[in-house]
């Protein structure tokens, strides 16, 4: 039967990453010579490099070689397809793909199926036919930041959004999650929602213009951390750092540094290293023949100065903290 097109945010057949081991036991023994191929969007963003580290770390742990490639730039859709096709031809046992868009790696699904290679869609853009997805709920990124505002700025006020590249799934979902949640509270007004194109300078300029028109703005939400750090500089240049809260998304190391320095208010960390580990584990379980739910949800957390220490330690410490979170039902 045809699979229904996947919506990773709402799919019912899902499991939280922390439950996997409990439900399916330890990772079974793998066939000899198992190797995994992975392709992600771009290495120009730390998020994707960290994801690769996660793959590598888990691969090393279980003795599976992982080849990790990425397109030359964000938006190089056909280049990414070429890479993925190369991986299929080269006979990897499982593919982990983080597509540029919802559609550009579609042909891979068929080619991999024909070659009997499972494919795991990792994070962000979602291939509708994907049989397996590992990642977080994009919309939830925005929701978490909106909830922070509702909780910490009870009087409400004006907020602004700086969006990623127009039309990109993650940007659309994050923006929508924030906008919807914060508007529903009734006290906040989204006075601007403008494109920052994942670009620091563009975001800086946009933030400058917004602040000038709305000097009483209380906060920004940016679709990624690079843009948020640009906004922080604009806020500082306008002398409003104590009045305007700035949130990013991704949890790159610079964002942590800025949070600790008291500049960036917060970010939604989606733990790319852990995501990578979980994704490869999921992929290998499939290779070993286990039947997993269609979606394995990975964690995310809103990081602020108060809790940054908890999530920025070594890998195992973070893992432990997140397992606690999961248990606590965050």
């Amino acid at each position: 039967a045809e699979l229904a097109p996947l919506n990773s945010d709402t799919e019912k057949d899902r499991i939280d990453w922390s439950q996997v081991e409990a439900k399916f036991g330890a990772l079974p023994k793998l066939p000899d010579g198992t190797k995994a191929g992975a392709v992600s969007k771009t290495l120009t963003n730390e998020y994707w490099r960290s994801l690769g580290e996660g793959y590598k770390a888990f691969g090393d742990k279980v003795g599976v070689p992982v080849v990790y490639q990425a397109a030359q730039s964000e938006g190089d859709q056909l280049g990414q397809l070429t890479i993925a096709e190369g991986l299929v031809t080269q006979g990897y046992n499982v593919l982990l793909v983080s597509p540029q868009t919802d559609a550009n790696l579609q042909p891979i699904m068929e080619q991999a199926k024909a070659a009997n290679v499972p494919v795991v869609n990792v994070n962000d853009a979602v291939i509708p036919q994907a049989e397996h997805y590992v990642g977080n709920v994009q919309r939830d990124n925005g929701v978490r930041v909106a909830k922070w505002f509702i909780k910490n700025r009870p009087n409400g006020g004006k907020v602004a959004i700086v969006e990623g590249q127009a039309g990109v799934y993650a940007a659309v979902q994050r923006t929508d999650g924030f906008k919807t949640t914060i508007s529903e509270s009734g006290k906040f007004e989204v006075v601007a929602s403008v494109p920052g194109n994942w670009d620091r300078q563009t975001s800086y300029d946009a933030a400058t213009n917004i602040l000038q028109q709305h000097p009483n703005l209380i906060g920004f939400y940016a679709n990624n951390d690079g843009m948020a750090l640009g906004i922080v500089e604009a806020v500082k240049a306008a002398g409003l750092q104590d009045k305007v809260a700035v949130f990013g998304t991704d949890g790159i190391s610079d964002a942590y540094a800025s949070i600790r320095a008291g500049e960036l208010t917060g970010t939604v960390d989606s733990f790319p290293v852990l995501t990578g580990e979980v994704a490869l584990e999921t992929a290998l379980r499939l290779v070993a023949g286990q039947k997993l739910p269609r979606v394995v949800a990975t964690p995310q957390a809103l990081i602020t100065k108060d809790n940054a220490h908890r999530y920025s330690g070594a890998g195992d410490a973070v893992r432990k903290a997140l397992i606690e979170d999961a248990a606590a039902g965050h």
């Binding site: 290495l43 490639q69 030359q72 859709q77 190369g86 031809t89 080269q90 559609a103 550009n104 990109v168």
Partner: protein, 322 residues
């Protein structure tokens, strides 16, 4: 320098295969040889077919680009034109419109986008680069607005089969583009329009006085470019099973690179269909080889840049100035 403006008389080995094309061919052979030596399985039949298939979309666009470049213009808007054409065809297909109609609508969009470019260049007299830079944003925006930024999913499998099939072991997309190349070659070499293109790009004023319909020639070039962008879009959505408004990002650069590697001069009046196809295959082989070698993406980017320069250099050396 005086001798850069003079062309060496060329001994044509075969009609339509010039010295210049031989230079490009040597470039391709060198690159194939290098990858063949470095990558086991590079010359496997399956991989060679992969290279052709992966080059086909760029080749399709680059053919249109070549005609535009020959006419003395440039078309930066091919990617967004393809995107607009793709989302409109796709949404018609999803709505159940018969294939021929939906495909025709996609082609019509391509032609219309080309028409707008052509009219602004030929009748209004604006610079091609800046016109198509403007329409690059405009068409992209229209595609995004039309779809609300969402991909159009769920194309009928039977539609996809059209572009995904194989014939004599070759993917249909490759065969279609090869057909387009043959037509483009005939058009350029054997029809008045081809002569007009070369004349308009070579010396617009002289062409005008000789009675060449300047405006119509230019507009036709842009419309063909738009049409081929639309064709590339159909091939792509057939392959992907979905149409996205952000499809075709940076396609123009690859297409221009293929045309230039193949010998087209951005000053107009010069360009080769055979060369462009070879140029597209050079770029495709390079991507494919680098991937198979598992080169990290930063180094792939480096290699891309260096290989474009190397291809031009090899060609330059084998051919002498010009």
């Amino acid at each position: 320098m005086s001798d850069t403006t003079l062309v060496q008389p060329r001994a044509e080995f075969l009609r339509g295969f010039s010295m210049r094309d031989a230079g490009t061919l040597i470039g391709l052979v060198v690159i194939l040889a290098v990858f063949g030596a470095l990558v086991p399985g590079f010359f496997a039949e399956r991989n060679l077919i992969n290279i052709l298939q992966q080059s086909s979309i760029n080749a399709c666009l680059a053919l249109g680009m070549t005609l535009v470049i020959i006419s003395g213009g440039i078309d930066l808007s091919v990617g967004p034109t393809a995107a607009l054409s793709a989302v409109i065809s796709a949404s018609m297909l999803v709505a159940g419109v018969p294939f021929p109609l939906a495909i025709a609508a996609g082609f019509a969009i391509g032609l219309a986008c080309g028409l707008v470019n052509g009219v602004l260049v030929a009748y209004v007299g604006l610079q091609p680069f800046i016109v198509t830079l403007g329409t690059l944003s405009t068409y992209r925006a229209l595609a995004l607005i039309y779809t609300g930024g969402n991909p159009v999913l769920g194309l009928p499998a039977s539609f996809r089969a059209i572009f995904n099939g194989s014939l004599f072991g070759l993917p249909l997309a490759v065969i279609i583009v090869a057909g387009v190349a043959v037509v483009a070659w005939v058009v350029l070499k054997k029809t008045p329009f081809g002569e007009y293109l070369l004349a308009v790009g070579g010396n617009e004023e002289a062409a005008y006085i000789a009675g060449v319909p300047i405006a119509r020639t230019k507009i036709a070039a842009y419309m063909i470019s738009g049409l081929l962008a639309a064709l590339a879009a159909q091939i792509l959505i057939g392959r992907l099973g979905a149409a996205e408004p952000i499809l075709g990002n940076l396609w123009e650069l690859d297409a221009i690179a293929a045309a230039a590697i193949g010998g087209a001069s951005l000053m107009g009046g010069k360009g080769s269909v055979v060369g462009t196809i070879l140029g597209a295959v050079i770029l495709g082989a390079m991507r494919n080889g680098l991937t198979l070698m598992n080169v990290q993406s930063f180094y792939q980017l480096l290699a891309t840049g260096l290989i474009i320069l190397a291809a031009m250099l090899i060609d330059r050396v084998t051919r002498g100035r010009g």
